[in-house]
Symmetry: C2
């Protein structure tokens, strides 16, 4: 028997249909194993020695004595060479012609080249390398936040073809926009309504409920809890939530960076071990928007890590309902029963 | 220079970034050409002779004198063997436990086996065959509409791996739910607001605007107009809209079925010719929901045909913004400049 479960955070019904995992497929689904894992690729714009193939750095962590846009870095952030948005555009110009409304493509689109290695993702990196990725996200958000035209900046990551990555070298991206994205607005609305009705943060309450129920917890440390949400939209989806209420990711401190880094490493290893191969995934951070007047009391920042094991199909895209073929209780049970080293 | 364009129908901003089509890719993107095109596959549950591999028919168009669930059909509709929802579930039972809310998976999930041929899709079918597909959708919607527990039924189609198809044999699906899907609610809200403000149907106005501007029209016939919407969320997206206001697809008549059938055929051929190969796509019908009291004045039914040429990635799924790499003006220009026969 299948069931609808309500995602309180987005006010959306999800369909849980584990029976559908058994259906036959004759259309090739590809494989999650990437080709051979090379450490360096001469044609990759993100590999060391190819610094001039990217736009100039906006941030880099490098060995002392090495110059900008040369080798010697351990992490680089550059503007996307093919940006979706540009800071030289003018966000205020709304042009309206009958029913056709447009705004110049103002914004920022940056790429965080997470490591020098062409193929080591979170599951293969050292914890210290992952810490640097997290610090780089924070550094860039602090900088983008200073541009008062920006209302939101989404940190996200696409890993593997199924997750929409066009380049294999591990990287994350940041896109900053002059308006608050739809998905963020939905969460803001749910969290605000709940706060107004109860005086409590919705995600604090959901986290407490998950911890009490216990069936979907994957990992816990001092700073964070990782769990497969009760109303996960897709299989093996993992939510990483700070244990203490905080509205913005940039409030993260040194201990929490270490804890999050450790969690990214171990959760990625669990996923790869359970699903098999190098699991394609998306990851994003949901933050309080940068309104004129940021109320920090009701929004609780969090990270969603979404393995992309199936294609989004016509029903999902055409209706907005998601069908999940793996119960989150079962996903969590499998993820926690794995030995990782 | 990129730009934001507002989709008035869903009240969503889309990012138009044609420059991004030029970016390099080293992650394999697969190919749109399917393997060899076979007319019959002994293991395919949708091929003739394999009728007992599916649940029993709920509808079939067959040659006179042939019995149910045997050969002799030209089109069959069966319950999905691995249904996301079931009519034997009880839609009213909302079970709430703290923040965990669920409803039994009530609904219908049907498969329209569109043709006997394992590999002929709209672009290869006869017009008469496509007409039968459209009549079958109508017959099934009329039947599902009689179950007063159903609030919406989405007709949709997944063709090709990138579009989420698990079986290659051309088929469409219908999923009926006890609640109105999120995407439909968004359109209802936009159309209702516009109607309340202007006394006009929003989609009538948008269609008029597209016809007047003229740059994005792909095809027109007596009953329908096909165009690449001004704020298309993805490349080569095509909207098919009835020229006369009507709130529900089931109001379609014989002339319109012929016109729509012809349009599916020619639009599919145009897409395949321009993009190359057999283009993976999703298609869905958006209808007025089956509220208790259906106001038919403001909702205008329509079809969206969405080629799935790229993967939805972290930015799209995490923010709700879509990035389109092909301007709809350019898509329409290419689609209309093709000779089809």
């Amino acid at each position: 028997m299948t069931e609808f479960r309500k995602d309180m955070l987005t006010n959306t019904w999800i369909i849980m249909a584990p029976e559908r995992a058994r259906r036959p497929m004759d259309v090739s689904q590809g494989s999650y194993l990437m080709e051979e894992l090379t450490q360096w690729d001469q044609y990759c714009p993100f590999c060391p020695g190819n610094e001039l193939m990217t736009p100039p750095e906006v941030l880099a962590y490098r060995k002392p004595g090495t110059g900008s846009n040369q080798e010697g870095w351990t992490l680089r952030v550059v503007r996307n060479k093919y940006p979706a948005l540009s800071p030289s555009a003018e966000p205020k110009t709304v042009k309206k012609e009958d029913l056709r409304e447009r705004i110049e493509g103002f914004g920022y689109h940056e790429v965080v080249i997470e490591t020098t290695s062409h193929s080591r993702d979170f599951a293969q990196m050292d914890i210290g390398e992952i810490e640097d990725v997290i610090w780089a996200w924070r550094d860039r958000l602090l900088s983008l936040r200073a541009d008062k035209r920006v209302r939101y900046a989404l940190v996200f990551k696409n890993y593997g073809h199924n997750a929409g990555a066009s380049l294999g070298h591990p990287h994350s991206q940041i896109i900053a926009t002059p308006m608050v994205p739809k998905k963020i607005k939905e969460e803001v609305d749910s969290m605000r309504t709940y706060y107004e009705n109860t005086g409590e943060c919705l995600l604090c309450a959901m986290l407490h409920d998950e911890k009490t129920d216990g069936k979907r917890i994957v990992e816990e440390n001092e700073s964070f809890t990782a769990y497969c949400p009760y109303a996960s939209a897709s299989a093996y989806e993992i939510m990483i939530v700070p244990n203490q209420h905080a509205s913005e990711f940039i409030q993260i401190n040194g201990v929490a960076v270490k804890d999050l880094s450790q969690m990214f490493w171990s959760v990625s290893r669990r996923l790869n071990a359970v699903v098999g191969g190098l699991v394609p995934y998306n990851l994003w951070i949901h933050n309080n928007p940068w309104w004129q007047d940021c109320d920090t009391s009701f929004f609780h920042w969090h990270i969603e890590l979404v393995p992309r094991l199936t294609q989004l199909a016509g029903f999902e895209v055409g209706s907005g309902f998601f069908i999940n073929h793996t119960l989150p209780e079962e996903a969590a049970q499998k993820l926690t029963s794995i030995e990782i080293a």
